[in-house]
């Protein structure tokens, strides 16, 4: 059991998807399906929908917030997002979704070396930042 810093609170559960290579949501994730489309990314073709998504690093396009908002609206967002470091632009997609009254995934901060210790398989994130 690991305790991460809560950036935006909530609860969610799903299979762990750990991405070590940096990912940009804009130009890297299909907003309609949640499938990774970045041709240079090792996770290309995998879906982030419903996962506990651990991202060691993000590459910031300023429209990544728009892609995440679209995924949340269509029910294809991750169940929880664990960031290696704060990405205010991506997190903004969750902030806006919450304002719209849509169900949002929690966003946590956890250093990449700690992300590496998360066991594979089904994980659950609690509102206090516990990942079990």
């Amino acid at each position: 059991m690991i305790r991460a810093r809560v950036l935006l609170p909530g609860a969610g559960a799903g299979p762990l998807l750990r991405l070590v290579e940096p990912l940009s949501f804009w130009g890297g994730v299909d907003p309609a399906s949640g499938i990774v489309t970045d041709a240079r990314h090792p996770a290309r073709g995998r879906s982030i929908a419903g996962t506990v998504l651990a991202l060691a690093a993000t590459r910031g396009s300023s429209s990544s917030s728009a892609v995440l908002l679209e995924l949340i609206r269509s029910g294809r967002a991750p169940a929880a997002i664990v960031l290696g470091e704060v990405d205010a632009i991506l997190s903004l997609g969750v902030v806006v979704a919450r304002e719209m009254g849509w169900q949002t995934p929690p966003v946590l901060e956890l250093a990449p070396e700690m992300q590496a210790t998360l066991p594979e398989g089904q994980r659950r994130v609690d509102p206090d930042g516990t990942i079990a």
């Binding site: 041709a39 300023s62 609206r73």
Partner: protein
């Protein structure tokens, strides 16, 4: 306080907390990138702000939309997307934003003063307003730009603060040939190099001519903000915060010094072309950022009334098109085979023929995003190369500059 103002203030406050900003800073203007359609959720958000009585608190311009409103049918969207893209553009107008529909608002009358705090979105516009005009903004993500415009404030951190605006790396271009430094196509290549090597670090560039044209600085910033997250650069002797190298660095020793070599530039230029074979040419596109009147004057001189042999697009703002119309240049350019695209561009909206072709451009930004967004491989060349290729119907590039 309207419900929309409450929503905007909560979004700005959440962003400030996430960004680690100790407070908020009042802004005097805004530029909004959120009016480009990425999906229905963005439309619902903008319409929620309208329904909540939202109005921008400061003069605000709009970046491109996903439609060319002056030329219906130029953007080939399915009906649903076209209708939603139109609704999105209409919602932002109803929030009180100026329907400028351009990624070069700084060439459409929106020019903040040095030292003014602003809230701008869109990466090239952010790089230009910080670097060339000396105003202050962070790279704001979609939704935060309009939230700041309605709230009239932005998170007070990053590039709003003196200590984060000084150059940490120094790049010297003095060792490159005078001819290369004087050429228009050098600047987007320099920008592409800078973005991939500086990331988001602030650089000061020395050894450039004092009379660099504004369109060259525009091209540099757009390329640097595409290959990297560059939001501010200084050019010593040219940009407002860099009258001297010492002023640019704040007198603090830089973390790195780099001397540019012809090899470094040549490889940066090569990386802007992704097309595998250049024995084919399907389209040529200019205007990212949007083409200026000065650039149209150059294009007109190069064309000299001759007829182009391949589809040739020039993307620009409606303000520039009005002037082209007034001068009779539009008719002349269209007579040569130039297709004008207003309010949007060929890389953010489906305008080009679908399929895997070859797209030639003089824009570092089009070259960087072209393949992912249009499916076409890219060939980067100068404006002269683009016109020569358009007339010849095949790729023609003057390699001598880069030897």
């Amino acid at each position: 306080m309207t419900p929309a103002t409450g929503m905007a203030r909560r979004i700005v406050a959440d962003a400030a907390r996430l960004m680690g900003a100790p407070g908020l800073v009042p802004v005097v203007s805004a530029h909004i990138d959120g009016c480009l359609y990425h999906g229905d959720s963005g439309v619902e958000f903008a319409e929620a702000l309208v329904a909540g009585g939202g109005q921008v608190a400061v003069p605000t311009t709009l970046n491109v939309g996903a439609l060319d409103l002056l030329h219906p049918g130029r953007v080939r969207f399915p009906d649903h997307q076209a209708a939603m893209a139109r609704r999105l553009m209409a919602a932002y107008e109803r929030l009180g934003c100026r329907p400028s529909w351009t990624c070069a608002p700084y060439q459409a009358g929106h020019r903040p003063q040095p030292g003014e705090h602003v809230a701008w979105g869109e990466s090239n516009a952010v790089a230009f307003v910080n670097s060339v005009l000396g105003a202050r903004t962070n790279r704001l993500g979609d939704f935060l730009d309009i939230a700041c415009a309605i709230a009239g404030v932005a998170p007070d951190c990053g590039l709003h603060r003196d200590e984060n605006r000084r150059a940490r790396i120094v790049v010297d271009a003095g060792g490159l040939s005078r001819r290369l430094r004087a050429s228009e196509s050098f600047y987007p290549v320099l920008g592409a190099w800078l973005g991939s090597h500086a990331g988001n670090a602030v650089a000061a560039i020395t050894g450039l001519p004092q009379d660099v044209p504004e369109d060259a600085l525009k091209a540099l910033g757009a390329a640097a903000a595409s290959t990297g997250a560059v939001a501010l650069f200084h050019i010593v002797g040219v940009t407002p915060e860099a009258p001297t190298l010492e002023a640019a660095t704040g007198g603090i020793a830089p973390e790195a010094r780099l001397d540019l070599t012809p090899d470094m530039l040549r490889s940066a230029r090569d990386r802007l072309s992704t097309a595998t074979g250049i024995d084919q040419l399907d389209a040529i596109a200019l205007g990212s950022p949007h083409f200026s009147l000065a650039e149209f004057a150059q294009l007109r001189a190069l064309l000299a009334g001759r007829r182009l042999a391949v589809p040739f697009y020039a993307c620009t703002g409606r303000g520039v098109i009005e002037i082209l119309d007034g001068r009779g240049w539009r008719r002349e350019l269209e007579g040569c085979g130039v297709t004008l695209v207003a309010d949007t561009c060929v890389v953010v909206a489906p305008i080009l023929d679908a399929g895997r072709g070859v797209l030639m451009t003089n824009s570092g930004k089009f070259a960087f995003y072209g393949e992912a967004n249009t499916g076409h491989g890219t060939v980067f060349g100068s404006l002269e190369d683009c016109v020569a290729s358009g007339l010849a119907g095949q790729v023609v590039r003057d390699e001598a500059l880069w030897q």
